[in-house]
């Protein structure tokens, strides 16, 4: 992989991670080493092997449509860093 700083910046942006210049440099280094190692995957002939997202054979883990109105708002808001008027407060969102 090309783990150049441009790639790191693109990925960091997708992941909403602020990185310092120094961090960008060492993550580039680390990721290049890791990605080089992972080159081994390219050599494997996976043929028509189906991807395996999950080892489980469980299907249809479903719940019945029953509402339980336990209002936990105050308990939940108490954990939040900033709240106002029963809402979570964030900086102004400009659309």
């Amino acid at each position: 992989m090309q783990a150049d700083e441009k790639t790191i910046s693109y990925v960091a942006n997708l992941a909403a991670l602020h990185l310092t210049q120094e961090e960008k440099e060492h993550y580039s280094r680390d990721l290049v080493a890791i990605m080089n190692y992972m080159e081994e995957l390219m050599a494997i002939d996976t043929g028509d092997v189906q991807p395996m997202e999950h080892v489980l054979s469980i299907r249809n883990a479903l719940r019945e449509d029953v509402a339980s109105n336990t209002d936990m708002r105050d308990k939940l808001l108490a954990v939040a860093p900033k709240t106002e008027e029963g809402c979570y407060l964030v900086p102004n969102v400009v659309e």
């Binding site: 954990v79 106002e84 029963g86």
Partner: protein, 477 residues
């Protein structure tokens, strides 16, 4: 327009389940902020989603109603992006294996039927709401809507005018309402659409570059945004400019759209299978159970009303405005054996009464048998039209049998000749001027005297009988 307009729609509809799609919080609109949230829908650390079976059934139902193929094997995926209305920074949605695909919905344009293709219908979770409070030091987030089940209906680019797009949206809305899958309250945001629009020279096969307009929440907005965007694109083309592929936001107040982001900045959603949920297998039994619940759809009903019940097209449309009205009509018509009368009563009396109600409700407040019985009483001449309406007012909101009420309210038509003659005699005695008017050839006088007589009979006289008796008496004077 020098170009052909090509439109595809993505319609989002909130499902009418009792609880949210992945937790048991109530799916309710208009509750105080964050009173319908829990650790699961807030995506708190360690919490896990569990899928609402009804939501899946509703997605299947919508698919069946729109002639889709239902996938026997589906799964959920994560769509990753950051936005403060979303608690996990990913939306649980469906990427490559939606529940429904390859269907169609029929619209009628200029008297012609046209099929609009449905590419897919998938299930996903709704996001919360951002409230911009001018007095707050920022934006307030309410997550009550977070996790409300949503289906996204993706059409094929089969529409050729904003008018068609609007008709398609209407047709979809009607189907969702009739199937009970969604209440489609556009003003509450439970039905909204993204419009994908492009232009191409007439006769050209390839599509032009499209733009996507997000979150249109009224039929009118779909129409207006469609026309405005077509005009904007054509102006660009005529000015020799390219149309960049981009996402635009429609401002319904200004009647203009604004660029949100270009294709280059397009989101890299990094879809991957949701590892916290397992695949959904829809077997024949499940499919059949949902199929059985499917009501006859409005389009089919309109055709039937016209062709077999002899109802005019316009009336048929009104009668199928909601499933509650359509079902009431069919039941009442069945009981009274007179579809036209049932239609008239519903359009004239029931719909008006519903409109006058303070609180908007889809329920007419009367059952088919109740209405049918009233119609029978009127048609058979047991009670007058006026008494029928009175009876209706009394019956609405109750489960009382109108037959019982007729006698309790003493509404049965007065046919006793002696009584009628006595009333007429009284009326004539009290109104000498009217008699003079009658004799002077003023036809109105009969009507006036009729009214007086009917009033004294408390509306229970048989109008024909009373009129005949009155005229006979007048002539004899």
């Amino acid at each position: 327009m020098n170009h052909e307009i090509v439109i595809g729609l993505e319609i989002h509809a909130e499902l009418r389940t009792a609880s949210k799609v992945f937790c048991s919080c109530a799916n309710e609109f208009g509750v105080e902020p964050n009173r319908r949230t829990c650790p699961v829908c807030l995506g708190m650390p360690g919490t896990l989603p569990v899928m609402n079976k009804k939501a899946v059934s509703y997605a299947i139902k919508a698919g069946l109603a729109m002639n889709c193929t239902i996938s026997s094997f589906s799964k959920m995926d994560r769509k990753n992006y950051f936005y403060p209305d979303m608690c996990k920074a990913y939306q649980i949605s469906q990427f490559d294996l939606p529940f429904c695909r390859d269907g169609y919905v029929e619209i009628e344009i200029d008297g012609q039927k046209k099929r609009i293709g449905i590419e897919r219908i998938h299930l996903e979770e709704d996001a919360g709401k951002l409230n911009h409070d001018p007095f707050a030091q920022g934006t307030l987030v309410d997550y009550n809507r977070c996790g409300v089940p949503l289906i996204e209906i993706v059409s094929r680019p089969d529409m050729r005018s904003p008018e068609e797009a609007k008709l398609f949206m209407e047709a979809v809305k009607e189907i969702l309402e009739f199937t009970g899958v969604s209440d489609c309250k556009m003003q509450e945001g439970s039905l909204r659409a993204d419009v994908n629009l492009s232009l191409r020279p007439y006769g050209q096969k390839e599509f032009g570059t499209r733009t996507e307009m997000k979150n249109l929440n009224s039929l009118r907005a779909v129409l207006r945004a469609g026309y405005a965007e077509a005009a904007r694109q054509e102006a660009q083309i005529l000015a020799g400019k390219n149309i960049p592929q981009e996402t635009r936001r429609w401002d319904d107040n200004k009647g203009e759209s604004f660029s949100m982001r270009s294709k280059e900045e397009a989101m890299d959603y990094r879809y991957f299978p949701e590892p916290d949920l397992v695949p959904v297998v829809i077997n024949d039994a499940w499919l059949e159970a949902v199929r059985k619940e499917l009501p006859e759809l409005p389009q089919a009903r309109r055709v039937r009303y016209q062709e077999t019940l002899g109802i005019p097209a316009y009336d048929a449309t009104l009668l199928t405005s909601t499933i509650q009205i359509a079902d009431l009509f069919e039941s009442a018509a069945d009981i009274c054996g007179n579809a036209k009368a049932a239609s008239n009563w519903i359009m004239g009396e029931i719909l008006r009464r519903m409109k006058e109600q303070e609180e908007e409700s889809l329920e007419p407040g009367i059952s088919g048998p109740q209405l049918g019985t009233i119609i029978v009483l009127v048609e058979k001449g047991e009670i007058t039209q006026t008494s029928g309406k009175k009876l209706l007012d009394t019956v609405i909101g109750t489960e009382v049998d109108p037959n019982v009420l007729v006698d309790r309210l003493n509404l049965r038509i007065q046919r006793d000749e002696g009584a009628i003659t006595a009333v007429i005699a009284q009326v004539l005695e009290k109104n000498p001027q009217a008699i003079l008017d009658y004799q002077a050839g003023k036809g109105k006088a009969v009507g006036f005297l009729m009214g007086q007589a009917m009033g004294m009979l408390k509306g229970k006289g048989d109008p024909g009988q009373v009129k005949a008796a009155l005229e006979e008496k007048l002539k004899a004077l």
